[in-house]
């Protein structure tokens, strides 16, 4: 319990130690701590941002997928429509060709029938003339009655 000058020296030593700590020990450590805290905060913020970005990307990909599916369906339905149209067109064309062919055949048949009719008429007229000639061989002169025979043939047609 005896006091002496140690006390005074101890005060000086104490204040010197405080000065040293304040100048050389405390600032670097606190700086490192603060910097690390900032780094961690930044890292956490970056992680949050990455998470948000990921969520956005996921949403976007779902949307894209849906759009792709939609456009594929659209394409398919378009193709189907076109195919149906092609078939329809082909069918119409075929019908048209068949109709044309039928018409041509009909015309041909009609022409042939006409021709046959004409030929038949000629023959009938000749037969009639021949018959009449036979009957009227003496009375009727073919040259004299040629007009008459032509009229007759006309009338038969």
């Amino acid at each position: 319990m005896n006091l002496n000058a140690t006390l005074i020296i101890q005060i000086v030593v104490f204040l010197t130690f405080v000065w040293f700590t304040k100048s050389f020990v405390w600032p670097p450590i606190v700086k490192a701590l603060d910097e690390r805290a900032k780094k961690i905060a930044d890292g956490l913020a970056a992680a949050d941002k990455a998470k948000a970005d990921l969520a956005n990307a996921e949403k976007k990909s779902v949307e894209e997928l849906r759009a792709a599916r939609e456009s594929a369906a659209e394409l398919r339905s378009g193709a189907e429509k076109q195919a149906a149209k092609l078939v329809e067109d082909a069918r119409a064309e075929a019908n048209r060709i068949v109709a044309a062919a039928r018409e041509a055949a009909t015309n041909e048949a009609a022409a042939a029938a006409q021709k046959a009719k004409d030929a038949l008429r000629d023959q009938v007229a000749q037969l009639a003339v021949a018959g009449a000639e036979r009957i009227l061989r003496r009375e009727i002169n073919a040259q004299v009655h040629a007009d008459l025979l032509a009229n007759l043939k006309q009338e038969l047609s």
Binding site: N4, A5, T6, Q10, T21, K22, V30
Partner: protein
């Protein structure tokens, strides 16, 4: 504590009596080479106290400085992490008690070195009680001096000069901040107006109250640490006496030696708590007192 020292100087041929042993261990090595007789003598300096306190303070500062000079904001090593835990602990306490950011830049390092330094000085109690004094005795004797005058105390905080020196330094810091924060006039006004009220008739009482408060704070601050460490050291000495009573292979000697081991172990374990706790309390009170200097009554 100076009572037995006269005897100690006379005992040369046989072992010291318990009183001599304790008195010898409680005497400081000062520049006169003799035990201090007066209560106050400004001509004397306790060389052992200064040697160990400066050595330990420098050691603590060196370790902290090593950590600080290699501090990285990246992944810290174990050593850096340990120092950081300490720094964070002090910084948190300082933040809670001192609200001025600017003051904290000085006061927090102050609290850190107070804690580290006092912890190290207290921890000197863990060394075997006679280890360093016995080595010193050998050196002193080989230098041709009387080994009974080879005084050595290794726990600086068991010296009231060291603890009061620190508490007075804290008081000086408190006065500095009182003036810095409140201004000389503001602080002077506070001294005569608080705690009873701002009336002229109350001024002397207020002033007396404040002076008593400063005195009480400072004395209790220093005496608390000194008392704890002095008592702890004294109990180690008393425990050591049990083993020192060895008289040969007989039952009382064995029982006393056994008691020495058990009590020494128990007290050392308990002292781990005391060492850390007293260092922490001194640091906290330092922060509290400096914090009070920042606030008006």
């Amino acid at each position: 504590m100076a009572s037995g020292t006269e005897l100690a100087t006379e005992v040369a041929h046989h072992g010291p009596t318990p009183g001599e042993y304790i008195a010898h261990h409680l005497t400081f090595l000062n520049n006169s080479g003799e035990p201090q007789k007066d209560l106050i003598n400004w001509g004397l300096v306790n060389i052992d106290t200064l040697f160990y306190s400066i050595l330990l303070g420098a050691l603590g500062l060196f370790v902290l400085w090593r950590a600080a000079s290699r501090a990285t904001s990246g992944v810290p090593g174990r050593f850096q992490a340990a120092v950081e835990i300490l720094v964070e602990m002090v910084a948190d306490q300082a933040k809670g008690l001192i609200h001025s950011e600017e003051s904290r830049r000085t006061v927090a390092p102050l609290a850190l070195i107070v804690f580290v330094w006092i912890f190290l000085m207290n921890a000197m109690d863990f060394l075997p009680l006679d280890l360093l004094p016995r080595i010193w005795e050998g050196i002193y004797a080989s230098a041709g001096h009387d080994p009974h005058h080879a005084y050595m105390r290794v726990v600086p905080t068991a010296d009231i000069n060291a603890t009061m020196g620190m508490s007075i330094a804290v008081l000086l810091v408190c006065l500095f901040y009182n003036v810095k924060i409140k201004g000389l006039g503001g602080w002077a006004h506070e001294l005569i107006s608080a705690p009873f009220g701002d009336k002229l008739i109350l001024a002397p009482f207020n002033f007396a109250m404040n002076i008593i408060e400063f005195l009480a704070k400072t004395v209790s601050h220093g005496m608390r640490l000194f008392g704890n460490m002095f008592a702890g050291e004294l109990i180690f000495m008393l425990i050591a006496l049990m083993g020192a009573a060895w008289t040969g292979a007989n039952t009382p000697s064995f029982l006393l030696a056994f008691g020495h081991i058990v009590a020494g172990f128990a007290w050392a374990v308990f002292h781990i708590l005391v060492v850390a706790l007293q260092a922490f309390i001194f640091m906290m009170l330092t922060l509290v007192y400096i914090g009070q200097a920042h606030e008006g009554h």
